[in-house]
């Protein structure tokens, strides 16, 4: 047994946390800790990152290529892909093929994919799931700065005196950044935090002011702020005059909103709160505005971004320590994708679709076939698949059948598409199920390359293990297809360092004030050797002759990347979400992440500890709305929109505004029968960024009247029972199925569900109440347990699940098992702290026992002492004492 420590980065969000992993390669075992030296996280990790080591099992991996449901060899599979794409292009032209790629790819994978599609297949049809995530930020940056440039860095969070969080549940979605802000605020009590979000999220735990604005009214709020800045005399006249254009138009446009009272009315906010926000903003020089999907995922997303940037330009608070607008990206390498040109409307290395840039790239790549026009962005791309304009699509490292808006339409499109190729590291996703050719890619723990985080910091993601099975790196797979299509010369790569060097060289190619000046320049690495690449330390681009050690901030010098080198104020007007509520669809659906899951759960759901905090697709709804629509807490709701429908567990929450519901984005067809939120979402896009309006869809909700509710816990996975409502959840040592449905069920159905399991049965029935319970044990070990009821009043699964960990259940335990109730004190309750698996009951007991602060609870139970993202909940429990 040899232990090796490897420094890498986390697989999940855009924070880009550094990880130290102790690896036992021979045992395929690794442990994970935050890297104390990494400037993104300084040792912190969130619950998801902490559980990475639980996601590296090979059981759920795709390890062999498959064609039409049969295993095959790489040569056959690669030839089929190359042939399929070549044939399609030959017959229908290059725009009949497409790549849909992912912010989960490493920069090197991304670069090669973009190069193949745009440069050699000759189509712009490569788009990325980052389109769903931050393309509005890209578009907003470009409009204001001329380039897609993030001006600041994380260190600014700790230098600011006012932190404005817009459309971001940072506590759950970027937990490590939230912890940094929280620690900063605790150390400096004068620091103010304003949260602007229709929902009262866990992030509000640290807010001095929460503005629960009407969804989509952000532009009005920030236009009002721009006017307030002007009225307060806080305009930075020198900066505006010397370094910006167009402020008059912007202010004139902003004034259309009227006075503060009028803005407050538009935003459905208390005028005093708005006034206080404006006062804080005007009064606080060191101020950053952090924003995320609540801003971006909108049909006015780009305008929202510019409304925010306008305020920072107007005050000159940009690119200076503790100041600036800052987009928090969703994915580990969304930024890397932006750099290589992963979006259909950018070329490569922050070069655009114009004659100069096309010429640069064409020459650099020696690609005469380079596409001259942008391709289709995600929503349009899948529409083109649906209508048959695109006949071959290659999807890499993403799951659009779940994550796209109008996801049923995407599913139908792929079902009808003549050639669907999917590269993925896991064996089963909703999208893989529709693939003709499945290509096994390496996943986190095997991939080797670079990623760029939200603050432009390039870090190495390193392999912990050799490639498993027949899995291959994405860059290798793409390059092999390129070679088979006759482009061998342009895809000679043997190692990711070669790709990185080429990417770096392109970024510096003719990149100067006299030729074509761009922000993105990492030309220092243009000749990087493998050893230096392997040893690369985290660094913020640009990394070039002028900034050999990288650069923390842009624009303090007032030099932007527009032709005039001036920033542009963008006049923006309030535009409401495209689809309004109506009598038929009276509620607004908002969507987003939960604390312990990532995207479509293909990896996080493998870690049992991450399935404990929230285990089912749910809908948050205001108590009065719940009453109006006759919804009971914990019952099941049927939600439908013009585009689709789903079933979700009801959570009544006063943190929702009336008339607005929230559903997490994560659940899939692989994990649920009717829990795909994406099916509901309107396929509306922002005209500038083409980003979908995933935060706003009119929907209708009603109670789903199940005749029965039930669950199964089983040591082995089971075939899915017939049930309209079904969620599959991996627990520690067991698989869990939550069920509900129509018709009559009884003990015989439970027996049928557990048919494949062997063991002695025990059963309990109260037929007139429709209550049936059934368990199988073998040699005293629990094999499976299933329970049915006419209502949702079923025993807690937590304690029953813990019985799978017991090597023997004694006769007393056996007799009590079907009561579903732990002997007093044995049930730790719903998991609150995912890092240390600490339950709600344990915390309540500690509070009863005298703990009166989160610190004391941490000392006693360890809860909240790792990632800290459960601390708001622990506080709530303390408050409820």
């Amino acid at each position: 047994m040899t232990l090796q420590t490897i420094q890498t980065t986390c697989a999940y969000c855009g924070v880009g946390c550094g990880i130290n992993s102790s690896v036992q390669a021979d045992a395929h075992h690794a442990s994970v800790q935050g890297d104390q030296q990494h400037p993104s996280n300084f040792g912190r990790l969130c619950s998801k990152g902490t559980a990475l080591a639980d996601t590296i099992s090979l059981n759920e991996r795709l390890l062999v290529p498959e064609m039409n449901g049969h295993k095959t060899d790489w040569d056959t599979a690669l030839n089929a892909v190359a042939h399929g794409f070549a044939q399609t292009i030959a017959q229908y032209g290059p725009d009949a093929v497409a790549f849909y790629v992912s912010g989960q790819l490493l920069t090197e994978d991304y670069y090669v994919a973009n190069k193949l599609m745009k440069g050699f297949m000759g189509s712009g049809n490569i788009d990325t799931n980052s389109r769903l995530c931050m393309s509005s930020s890209v578009a907003g940056h470009k409009r204001a700065f001329g380039t897609d440039t993030v001006p600041g860095c994380y260190a600014d969070f700790e230098l600011a005196d006012l932190i404005v969080l817009v459309g971001s549940n940072t506590a759950w979605c970027h937990p490590v950044l939230f912890q940094r802000i929280k620690a900063h605020k605790e150390k400096n009590p004068q620091v103010k935090v304003v949260v602007i979000d229709p929902r009262k999220t866990q992030t509000c735990d640290i807010a001095d002011l929460h503005l629960p604005l009407k969804p989509g009214s952000d532009v009005s709020l920030f236009n009002g702020l721009l006017v307030a800045i002007a009225e307060a005399g806080k305009l930075d006249a020198d900066f505006i005059r010397n370094h910006t254009d167009n402020i008059t138009d912007a202010i004139n446009c902003a004034e259309i909103n009227g006075d503060i009272n009028s803005v407050a009315a538009t935003c459905d906010l208390n005028a005093e709160d708005v006034r206080e926000f404006y006062r804080l903003f005007c009064a606080t020089e060191k101020n950053i505005t952090l924003y995320s999907q609540g801003v971006n995922q909108s049909s006015a997303g780009t305008d929202k971004v510019n409304a925010i940037i306008n305020c920072h330009l107007a005050t000159g608070r940009i690119g200076k320590a503790g100041m600036g607008p800052f987009s928090m990206t969703g994915q580990p390498n969304a930024m890397g994708g932006r750099e290589v040109g992963g979006l259909a409307n950018t070329l490569a290395a922050h070069l655009e679709f114009n004659a100069t840039d096309l010429d640069i790239v064409r020459r650099f790549w020696r690609a005469p076939n380079l596409t001259e026009a942008p391709g289709l962005s995600a929503v349009d791309m899948f529409d083109a698949v649906k209508t048959g304009r695109i006949k071959a699509i290659w999807i890499m490292a993403t799951n659009p059948v779940v994550s796209m808006p109008d996801a049923d339409n995407v599913k139908a499109a792929l079902e009808a598409c003549p050639l669907v190729v999917v590269s993925d590291c896991v064996a089963d996703t909703d999208t893989l199920r529709l693939a003709h050719i499945k290509l096994p890619a390496t996943g986190w723990s095997e991939k080797d390359g670079t990623v760029t985080n939200s603050e432009r910091r390039i870090s190495r993601q390193r392999a912990l293990f050799a490639k498993s099975g027949e899995a291959q790196h994405d860059w290798w797979i793409i390059s092999e297809v390129a070679r088979r299509m006759g482009f061998a010369e342009a895809f000679p790569y043997q190692h990711p360092s070669e790709i990185f060097a080429e990417h770096a060289a392109l970024s510096g190619f003719e990149n100067n004030a006299t030729q074509r000046l761009r922000d993105f320049d990492i030309s220092k690495f243009a000749h990087i050797e493998r050893a230096a690449y392997d040893a690369l330390l985290p660094v913020q681009w640009p990394v070039n002759a002028e900034y050999p050690e990288g650069r923390a901030r842009f624009f303090a010098d007032g030099l932007f990347f527009t032709p005039s080198r001036k920033a542009r104020f963008i006049p923006v007007r309030q535009r409401w979400p495209k689809h309004k509520t109506c009598a038929e669809y009276p509620l607004v659906l908002n969507t987003g992440r939960i604390r312990d899951q990532w995207h479509t759960m293909t990896r996080t759901a493998l870690a049992a500890q991450l399935n404990q905090h929230i285990d089912e697709a749910y809908v948050d709804i205001h108590p009065q709305d719940a009453q109006q629509y006759a919804l009971q807490d914990n019952a099941i709701a049927h939600i439908n929109s013009r585009w689709g429908k789903m079933l979700a567990r009801v959570k009544i929450s006063a943190n929702q505004r009336r008339g607005e519901i929230f559903v997490p984005m994560h659940w899939t067809g692989v994990l649920s029968r009717a829990g795909r939120m994406g099916a509901l979402v309107n396929p509306v896009i922002d005209p500038d960024s083409k980003q979908p309006e995933s935060k706003h869809t009119p929907v209708h909700i009603k109670a789903y009247h199940a005749n029965w509710y039930g669950f199964i816990l089983s040591r082995e996975p089971l075939p899915w029972p017939e049930a309209e409502y079904l969620i599959s959840i991996k627990g520690k040592d067991f698989y869990r199925y939550e069920l509900a449905g129509s018709g009559q069920k009884n003990l015989a159905d439970l027996q049928h569900w557990l048919n494949g399991c062997t063991g002695d049965s025990i059963s309990y029935e109260d037929a007139s109440l429709g209550m049936y319970r059934y368990a199988l044990l073998h040699n005293g070990r629990l094999i499976a347990v299933a329970m049915l009821s006419r209502d949702t009043n079923l025993p807690q699964r937590q304690w029953l699940g813990s019985l799978f960990n017991k090597s023997e259940i004694d006769s007393r335990g056996r007799a009590a098992l079907l009561s579903g109730l732990a002997p007093a004190g044995e049930d730790i309750g719903r998991i609150v702290c995912a890092c240390f698996s600490v339950g709600e009951n344990s915390i309540k007991n500690a509070i009863k026992g005298g703990c009166c602060s989160t610190a004391q609870i941490g000392a006693q139970l360890k809860a909240g002492t790792n990632c800290g993202s459960c601390i708001p909940e622990i506080k709530q429990l303390l408050g409820a004492k």
């Binding site: 002695d760 049965s761 025990i762 059963s763 309990y764 029935e765 109260d766 037929a767 007139s768 109440l769 209550m771 009043n793 006769s811 056996r814 007799a815 009590a816 079907l818 009561s819 109730l821 007093a824």
Partner: protein, 416 residues
Amino acid sequence: MGRRLVVIGNGMAGGKLLEELALACPGKYEITVFGNEPYGNYNRIMLSPLLAGDKTLDDIMLNGREWYAANGFNLQAGADKAVVAINRGRKTVQCADGSETPYDKLVIATGSNPYFLPVEGNDLQGVMGFRAITDVNRMLSAVGEGKNAVVIGGGLLGLEAAVGLAGRGMQVTVVHHNATLLNRQLDAYAANLLEENLRSRGIHFKKPADTAKLSGSNGKLEHIHFADGSSQPADLVIMALGIRPNIRLAQEAGLFCKSGIVVSDSLQSYDPSIYALGECIEHRGATFGLVAPLYDQAKVLANHLSEHGVAQYKTLPTATKLKVTGIHLFSVGNFSGTDSSENLIYKDPANAIYKKLVIDNNRLIGAVAYGDTSEGSFYSELVESARDICDLRPYLMFGRALCEQMAGTPVMENAA
């Protein structure tokens, strides 16, 4: 008022009454007790363990002769002291030996007789009941390896006798008129579990079956014949078909009897000087065969005789148990249910555990348990108290402790 109290019968009921009197009003009466068995007071319900060899005679004695002496009770025990007549006019009782004893108050506790099938051959040597130590002694003397015993009646006593005899090495067949063993105590599912257990002990069953006649030679039993025409060899036949109140003395004395001696709630017969208790009585239409109501009656009667005079006897549902090592079964109340009743059922077939709770109008009205009877007393209490169990319903099957944990208080007032 005179102080002479005579008790006819020194069985479970009579013996218990003496104990209660010794507590309630020591010395109030001059008490004479007649018993036709030559012992002190023994625990009749322990005859099965005695037969099985799990207990000895000493083990099952409740009160020896010295106890009677110590308490000043005049015990007249033995066949010659069997009471043969009551003379209500003279207020005396007469024994087999001709002696006559006067009473001021008389208690009849003559118990019951086993019911003998009225079939040909029921008087053959080798046919017997199972009520007394003498029966046990006769059985034990007939025991022999490979000999055939037939028990007629698959009730509690019959099965206990069958297990005892099988344990003594006999080939035992139980004949039962119903397909369900213990059909007055168990439902079919529990009875099947019991039957499996008994079969594993080598006991055979013939059921449903009716006995047509018994046959033999030289007055000695040799075969049993069934109504279906079949027959089998039998060296021993135990009649275990139930009991009949022993009311001969009372009837001959002209006391009003139906199935048993009819008594009031204070256990007084139609003759104000004469009381009765135990298996010989009929109270509000009910007769008795289990020990618990006898004990309750003894308490009430002692209370009355001691002239505290407030207690009234009330028949309560009675739980039953089978006294066979390794078999746990329990039933109480109406376990067959009513038109409106609802069943809660728990099954653990691998461990031969079965429980059924019968609920009607939110009350527990009956329960059957096989294999795990640990919550029997809890269910008995709930049936007796007729408590509304609506709030406990989901936990009821899993016992008192869970019910109390969930209810947050003791479920039964007397369970604290």
